[in-house]
């Protein structure tokens, strides 16, 4: 987003969600990757749910705006959640 938001200690990201668990996107902390995620609908304020994991644990799929998006754990880590 506008500024690179630092991940505060204890701040959760999509990576930390369990399967089926939901959260609300607070911000994206990686500008370059963030752009792609924004275009795909990962807008701050949108709710996101961890849907499934690939057989080897990575990548994962999340549900945003009623559709399924797959992304790697490194990418999921850049989507921070509201506390």
């Amino acid at each position: 987003m506008r500024k690179k938001a630092e991940q505060k200690p204890g701040q959760k990201s999509v990576r930390d969600l369990k399967i089926g668990e939901q959260g609300v996107i607070c911000c994206l902390n990686d500008p370059e990757m963030g752009l792609k995620l924004l275009e795909m609908g990962c807008i701050p304020g949108t709710s996101v749910k961890l849907n499934s994991r690939a057989p080897l644990g990575d990548p994962i799929t999340i549900i945003v705006n009623d559709y399924t998006l797959s992304l790697r754990l490194d990418e999921a880590e850049t989507i921070l959640l509201k506390q």
């Binding site: 792609k36 849907n51 499934s52 644990g57 990548p59 009623d66 797959s70």
Partner: protein
């Protein structure tokens, strides 16, 4: 516009003047999975063509849509994209087309396809296009499906909000296509609605850009600022000027793009508040998620995938053999028809050079068609996205990426279309590595070489009643090829420097029934691409090799003939045997034979003699030529069936009178053909896809070197 002529002295026109269309060129654009390809196929049918965009490596698909009996428009199919900020090579074509109003390809109208069940995200691209002030139509696809899932869209309200015609449709079933065609006959107007206003502090910059390039549109000026480095039509000094202006204004592209995206989504959310009503959660989505639990399961997921892979291989080999035999016979009878009726060196060039080369290309069409039928079905159903998802972590370890699975799989049929399919990989480094290693996968051109050599050195034995030893060796060769590919990738991963970060953000499409029309068109398109791309090169090189094999220095060829005739008389050979003997003697004395003798010292450590040297040389253009050459050298004659070749080769003796084709020599040759590039078409396509000679040359050197070393090790270890 038609010009009305009023001069009385002109003779009256007999024919009605041709109808001048108001719209001449229509571009089709939309998100991936929004039904864009279906709509394109509905509008154009078989009336489509794949060509190269000038200056770009990416193909453009164009076609004609017949609007009325007299009126047709040109349709341009653009790659699926989520925004006007391209991420992959494929998507870059969009900005080249839409940002240059002076270009001959600039569209008069754009049809934006949108998936009705996911309107929010689909409208992002639409609002960007609308702000460019190009006349647009929104093709709202899958409305009935969305309605079944509880998504209700107020179309008149959406039309008011967007300011452009909105056509509800179902492109799979062809619903709404007629309405769209009627719209295309009318004068298109851009929308008056503005969806995004560039920040005020950028205005001075945008005004300057507009003035310099004669642009009328703010948003287009902003896009020039964002993309100036990748816009092909800008002059060098213009790019430098823009660069300087941006520096002065502190233009931060990524931040601006992010802010714009968020602003657009905010606007879209407001707009859709009264337009879309969602009553219940999507049913299709739920079904897809349940199916995913099995298809991407820890164990079943891989089991199912490998079963499907196995079925595909089975199909390629089992089903393709019938049409392949037919093509083979067809070419052979065409050749004998020509040879029976005409004579002379030109006829030989035609039959042994051109037609034989053409046959070598056509014979692979069935395998390519079957492979791409399967790949198209897997992609159409949405399963391929799951495969890339399951394979991503494994592939990443080797410097590849989940999406490399498709090229590697396709490489089993033919590296040419496989290299082309690597375009979907956004990341430069991942894409280059994939292209580099794909030719190591054992393509179908290696099959004839493998079969002849396996039949020669591997006994036909069965284990446990069904495991055929020859089959196991063949499978082993495929596995070695695959391992070579992934370990070469690993090597390259450490050498290449990444230009951008690799990511794997991808929409998971909902499972769907395949659209057979799309599958059919994919088959036609890929087969055509193969025949023309590979065909050109193979035929050209076949002609060169034919000349090399048919002519020799001085009067070598006549002497060889005379020698063969004397020998034939002494051995009391039949007419056919005599002919074969002449052919083999002449090949030895030809330029190809001379070169074969010259390279003999180099290939001796691998166990080869000059005869194999000739075969290596002639099969440089395409591996399958090996079998034909071998059968000529050992004067097998017209009937090139495996058992005849096998008998002849088994009878071949070395200097000590022992059988020449020992297992060591046979395996060494198999390994050589497994690793060696030996395919000019692949080199040509890699050159085209990478736009440089560095990659194909590096590939040629690497693979030939690897082939030499591995064949050497094999021969020395086994003999």
């Amino acid at each position: 516009m038609t010009v009305v002529t009023t001069q009385p002295d002109l003779p009256p026109r007999v024919e009605a003047p041709p109808v001048q269309p108001l719209v001449a060129r229509v571009a089709l654009i939309g998100n991936p999975n929004s039904g864009k390809t279906s709509l394109f196929n509905q509008l154009t049918g078989l009336n489509q063509k794949v060509g190269n965009f000038p200056g770009v490596t990416v193909d453009k698909k164009t076609g004609y849509s017949q609007l009325t009996p007299k009126l047709k428009v040109q349709m341009i199919d653009l790659p699926g994209t989520y925004s006007l900020y391209p991420k992959s090579l494929d998507e870059r074509i969009i900005i080249d087309l839409l940002y240059d109003p002076k270009s001959a390809h600039y569209p008069d109208l754009i049809i934006v396809t949108a998936d009705a069940s996911n309107l929010k995200r689909n409208l992002l691209l639409f609002t960007q296009l609308a702000d460019l002030q190009i006349p647009a139509v929104l093709a709202l696809n899958m409305v009935d499906v969305a309605e079944q899932e509880g998504v209700k869209i107020d179309i008149p309200a959406l039309h008011r909000e967007l300011g452009v015609p909105v056509i509800p449709m179902n492109a799979r079933k062809g619903k709404g296509v007629a309405a769209l065609k009627i719209l295309m006959t009318q004068q298109p107007e851009p929308t008056k609605v503005k969806f995004y206003e560039a920040p005020a502090e950028l205005q001075p910059l945008l005004q300057k850009v507009k003035a310099r390039f004669g642009l009328k549109n703010d948003y287009l000026a902003l896009q020039y600022a964002h993309h100036h480095k990748s816009l092909k039509f800008l002059k060098e000094e213009d790019v430098a000027w823009l660069d300087e202006q941006l520096q002065q204004n502190g233009f931060h592209s990524i931040t601006l793009q992010s802010n714009e995206t968020v602003a657009r989504y905010t606007r879209i959310n407001e707009m859709l508040l009264d337009v879309v009503r969602v009553e219940k959660t999507a049913k299709g989505e739920k079904f897809s998620n349940r199916l995913d639990q099995i298809l991407t399961h820890k164990i079943f997921g891989y089991l199912i995938f490998f079963t499907i892979l196995f079925l595909i291989f089975q199909a390629i080999f089992a089903w393709a053999s019938y049409p392949m035999d037919l093509i083979d016979q067809g070419i052979a009878s065409l050749n004998s028809l020509i040879q029976d009726n005409f004579e002379g060196p030109l006829v030989n060039l035609l039959t042994e050079g051109v037609i034989a080369g053409l046959g070598g290309v056509l014979i692979f069409v069935p395998q390519i068609a079957i492979l791409f039928a399967f790949i198209a079905i897997l992609e159409e159903t949405g399963y391929m996205a799951r495969v890339t998802f399951m394979m991503d972590k494994i592939m990443r370890k080797f410097g590849l990426n989940g999406k490399s699975v498709v090229p590697l799989m396709s490489g089993v049929a033919c590296a040419v279309p496989a290299v082309m399919s690597a375009r979907t990989i956004e990341n430069w480094k991942d894409r280059m590595i994939t292209i580099f290693v794909t030719p190591l996968m054992s393509c179908s051109a290696r099959i004839p070489v493998y079969t002849v050599l396996i039949a020669l050195v591997v006994p036909e034995k069965y284990y446990l009643g069904f495991l055929n030893l020859q089959g196991l060796v063949l499978m082993g060769l495929y596995i070695i090829g695959f391992l070579a590919a992934i370990f070469s990738a690993l090597l390259l991963k450490t050498i290449l420097k990444a230009r951008e970060r690799s990511y794997f953000i991808m929409e998971f499409p909902v499972y769907k029934m395949p659209r057979w029309k799309n599958v059919g068109l994919t088959i036609v398109e890929k087969s055509k691409a193969f025949v023309f791309e590979a065909g050109k090169v193979i035929v050209a090189v076949s002609i060169i090799l034919w000349v090399m094999a048919s002519y020799g220095p001085g009067d070598n060829m006549e002497q060889a003939r005379a020698l063969a005739l004397t020998e034939a008389q002494a051995r009391n050979l039949t007419e056919v045997q005599t002919e074969n003997l002449i052919a083999s003697h002449q090949l030895e004395s030809s330029y190809a034979g001379v070169v074969g003798h010259v390279i003999e010292p180099v290939i001796r450590p691998l166990g080869y003699d000059w005869k194999i040297g000739i075969a290596l040389l002639t099969s440089f253009a395409a591996r399958e030529v090996f079998v034909g050459t071998i059968s000529t050298i050992y004067s097998v004659g017209e009937e090139e069936n495996v058992s005849t070749i096998k008998e002849k080769l088994m009878a071949e003796k070395d200097a000590n009178g022992d059988p020449f084709f020992t297992p060591a020599r046979g395996f060494s040759l198999m390994i050589f053909y497994l690793y060696a590039m030996q395919c000019v078409s692949t080199l040509a396509i890699v050159r085209r896809e990478t736009k440089s000679w560095t990659w194909p040359l590096a590939q040629l050197l690497y693979m030939s070197g690897l082939a030499y070393v591995m064949a050497f090790i094999t021969y020395q270890a086994l003999s």
